[in-house]
Symmetry: C2
């Protein structure tokens, strides 16, 4: 099992931060979704969330509150081209970021701030689409 | 880190199932709270939730949906009288049970169905009290 923390970042006007995953790795290569990553041994959830946000987006977390959790068994594409089947537990936090310019790591290829009525226009991965449905943000 | 699944069991009239922990073990010995236990290696969350419900209450789960998650660092009293400090991640599910009589295991000493306006009358452990506050069930 892989325990994964996921920042659901909102800005002041209520837009949500979407990330396009790199095409050569991850569970949904090339699609739009949410950032996040695995909790490492010895970390608290809060530490993992702050580390992942800084590593992936290059920006610090301002605050975070638990939002929802879910699980799924997914195929992960590794950078060497092989696949790994993983049972993942996702812990989602509603977050705000400190001001700063994004500096994406190799896992992400783009970011976008989307209003809730714009979510349908993105090629969202199925798990993110379902998450937004659970939150009532997407039909 | 210990990953713990917690069934928040409701009945048809909306009462919540409280359990009194045994006085000789656990993180809140002798107090009222919620059942649940640790996810074992190789289990899914759903498997762990069904196993723990059956082990602790002797009754099968009918259905369950993710409710909320939280974490805490707590002291656990072991049956041999020693203490263990644990970082725990709690995954709470709103559940219904199949009909049947309770058969409690050694971790629990009593159960009670409580209406939400009766929760204040129980000696709830602080984590359960805070959880009910988060849910808006307890002031």
């Amino acid at each position: 099992m892989r325990l994964v923390v996921v920042p659901v970042v909102r800005d002041e006007p209520g837009r949500v931060l979407l990330c396009r995953m790199s095409s050569d790795r991850g569970v949904f290569p090339g699609q739009w979704g949410l950032p996040g990553g695995g909790v490492e041994p010895g970390e608290t959830l809060d530490q993992a969330l702050r580390r992942e946000t800084l590593e992936e987006l290059g920006v610090e977390l301002e605050d975070a509150r638990p939002l929802l959790f879910r699980d799924a068994t997914l195929d992960k594409l590794l950078p060497n081209g092989s696949h790994q089947r993983l049972y993942m537990v996702f812990l989602l936090y509603e977050c705000r970021l400190r001001p700063g310019a994004f500096a994406l790591n190799a896992e992400l290829s783009a970011t976008a701030w989307a209003r809730l009525d714009e979510l349908a226009g993105f090629d969202l991965n199925p798990l993110t689409r379902e998450t937004f449905r659970l939150l009532g943000w997407h039909s």
